[in-house]
Symmetry: D2
Subunit: 288 residues, 4 copies
Amino acid sequence: MGDIRSIGIIAKATSPHADETMHRLVPWLTERGIQVRVQEDFSMLSGDQVTVVPREMVPEQTDIVIVLGGDGTLLSVARLVEKTEQPILGINLGSLGFLTELGIGEMYGSLEEVLSGNFRIEERMRLEANLVREGREIGHYQVLNDVVINKGALARIIDLEAFIDGQRVTNYKADGLIVSTPTGSTAYSLAAGGPIIEPTLDLIVIAPICPHTLTNRPLVVPGDSRVELHLASDSGKVYLTLDGQEGTQLNKDDRVHIFASPKKVKLIRTGAKSFFEVLSTKLYWGQR
Amino acid sequence: MGDIRSIGIIAKATSPHADETMHRLVPWLTERGIQVRVQEDFSMLSGDQVTVVPREMVPEQTDIVIVLGGDGTLLSVARLVEKTEQPILGINLGSLGFLTELGIGEMYGSLEEVLSGNFRIEERMRLEANLVREGREIGHYQVLNDVVINKGALARIIDLEAFIDGQRVTNYKADGLIVSTPTGSTAYSLAAGGPIIEPTLDLIVIAPICPHTLTNRPLVVPGDSRVELHLASDSGKVYLTLDGQEGTQLNKDDRVHIFASPKKVKLIRTGAKSFFEVLSTKLYWGQR
Amino acid sequence: MGDIRSIGIIAKATSPHADETMHRLVPWLTERGIQVRVQEDFSMLSGDQVTVVPREMVPEQTDIVIVLGGDGTLLSVARLVEKTEQPILGINLGSLGFLTELGIGEMYGSLEEVLSGNFRIEERMRLEANLVREGREIGHYQVLNDVVINKGALARIIDLEAFIDGQRVTNYKADGLIVSTPTGSTAYSLAAGGPIIEPTLDLIVIAPICPHTLTNRPLVVPGDSRVELHLASDSGKVYLTLDGQEGTQLNKDDRVHIFASPKKVKLIRTGAKSFFEVLSTKLYWGQR
Amino acid sequence: MGDIRSIGIIAKATSPHADETMHRLVPWLTERGIQVRVQEDFSMLSGDQVTVVPREMVPEQTDIVIVLGGDGTLLSVARLVEKTEQPILGINLGSLGFLTELGIGEMYGSLEEVLSGNFRIEERMRLEANLVREGREIGHYQVLNDVVINKGALARIIDLEAFIDGQRVTNYKADGLIVSTPTGSTAYSLAAGGPIIEPTLDLIVIAPICPHTLTNRPLVVPGDSRVELHLASDSGKVYLTLDGQEGTQLNKDDRVHIFASPKKVKLIRTGAKSFFEVLSTKLYWGQR
């Protein structure tokens, strides 16, 4: 990738550290000749080299996007750069995340590296999901972590018939089902008993949530599989949720098709922190 | 207990076998001199010894109650006999349950035993739950299986602070929490990773649903413990559900107090089928 | 319990902190008029009020026993006081344990309390195990944590037929089986997927190790149950281990009978640290 | 592949059905003009087209090998064809396996298909393991299912330092560690809590056995990873086992290097039974 001349910054405006960090980071970048785009929450920073735009337009015409926030913020930014595919540098304003594994203390050092070209791009698989009702596609979504079908709190157990590449897997009787990327394997899927997948792999994890059939263990299938889920029961409110952030209600006999997106998420990596170091920190490995 | 002269029958009217079973069972009982009470769905059976009443009045003035249906039907009947404490004989119209462990084929043999007095009463612990909002009790419930706090499908992870006998346990960050009796240990709690508890014990199981802290394993505490749950987060819709059948929405800072009920559920047992035989059948033990 | 006049101290002599701690602790006690008994590793401390004896004789004629070491040390001391039933005060020389929940920093404060009578005794259930070969009892053991039947590393999967109070549970096909007290529920049983049991309860946990039948989940039965295990397979070397410390090889058709001991282990508790606080610390609750 | 003219048959001679099956299968094949090689247990079948040789020489100069037995028999035959790479047709003499998914009833129909060329070859990844002591390789092994490091029953918990491609993962404190292929994911790894992996994938699963760190969840890494395990503790007898069949004792500081073998195992598949159908049958999916 060529020289970095323009950077978009999207911050979790409600974070207590966002404001202070932005007030220091933006001048730091402009002093280095970078054009900066920020969201409207930071209009006070407007200036010669700093353009203020609506949040969803921040990535436009930028070379990379800095995310200041947690993993949730980064997930939402991943959606914004779906078409333009800018690399993302995640900086965590709070406790470190799996996606935002750099803290504020490491930010400037890391940016020096990035501006000098000393970084690599780590590509992460995305999933797309089509929601089909009565034969018509009524929704299309893409995620970096997971596509989840989940019963409402008052609904009865749901019956989800699953197919992979047209072959029937089983009817899951469960609270729900998580279809996850390797990136998502350390998020909701892990809490549901799924394995930890090296995040650059090209795989799909299918993990049931509280299955009544205790032998319905998490399943790992090739990244180019087409997963089809059919809501076979009418058991009250059931929802499709995307990266834990967007959702829509499902009807009986709705079908959800899930498959790898051709578009990857590009994460900027500097330094030598390995995936296993992040795991060890987040999961208290090496301690009891 | 004395001679059985009157029996209430509550059937799952929507079961395909309910009608036929009722048409044979009711005459079988009246021929043996038993007074029978049935719910309005079976008004065609009305007669000299057969009184038709609303479902919730079936147990009144009867010596025992026969439940025809699944475990869900029995759970709902358990609530009806809370005060009058009639023993319940569960007959499963479909595949066997943990509570309704007799099939239709075993019903008449079992009833012969019951009418001859050859049976024992197995007492099962119930839980009571008080819902407290802004210092005032706004709901009171009792269950045979479990009290569950569960997030809605679109809600974020919830933060539930738990206390036992006034001592803080932890703040669970999870999809929800199941507080279960031993009877409930083979229901939802099992699907969430809880242990199997011998059902006549006097214990409370606390099992988190998809906890983010992976070390938050199910906890077994004395039956006379007072469990207090405090909804510490404002993360969207969160519900309190009782035996998976009734529910109510919770607000931030609502508190739920859970403790053993002085009233037991009395199940009628005939024959020698042990709890472990039921487990083996339901969980395919002895097979792979 | 009356005044404390004599104290036995058993230390894990190989711990790097044992020596220094003993050199300060023993004079601290004798200055307060206490008669002290120590094991031969600390014969240099011999004196007027300090008697040096073999390790297993340290508890004799003492009012309480102080254990300096980890949970393993305390388990071994629990066996020494089986008959004499002295209360035990556990001090951890390293990272805190479940049984030795006080650190060196808390030791003197805690001992002040103990000498002033400001403490309570927490009774913990023990298990006894009889090993029966060809109808004859050839071994008798007692444990505070667990009785384990485990296959050797090169043995094939074992087949263990389990009975509770004479009722057959199932044939476990597994690497082994853990029969644990509530105290042991936070030790090996937890690693095998067992629940956490409030430690003063009177219960037995039966947790299979890597069962091939995935639905063979941990089972909690009453403390007065008689568990009988029958080694039904001839699959190579299989061992009975007691508290992870002693072991003996089993033959095909050996039977192990396990039941609660009438003798409890008495732990001395000072201060207000609850079981849940210990759990939170040991299991990183309240963190991710 | 060309016409099949010669077939080796390796049977589990101790199976009660082996003899009868061999007496019918061998003539069935010779009638169809096939040269057959059998192991010495079946020397009574010797004849014009039937050569009797030691078990390990059965595969020599044959086009395919039929395995009559269970998954264990097939694992041992997989080692015999490591270099010659004949495809294997697995027929189960008892209850169906994951690798031997055809029963005797399906054998002749399946063989008709195979002799007509109506079959496909499914390639399964193998792993190689090098055992290195004091810098010298002292053992070299290959497996179809798994490489396991396991403590002896009387040993203390072991400390295994794991590296992937030179990056440290963690020090596992556990009973042992399973390094499995996708094929092995439904064997021992599943019993230890590992995920189910679609068996033709090129991946390595690392699943700890009863880890003391409860967050040490199974890990899935790329098939071309180099896994290095270092036995960091001196905790009694520790063993390296290969496909659960061969084993060797390890010393402190031994290192085991594990990586994909260039040689695949070729399984003959006829008919349309999918992996998910095998799973459903073996794991009682679709039932409770």
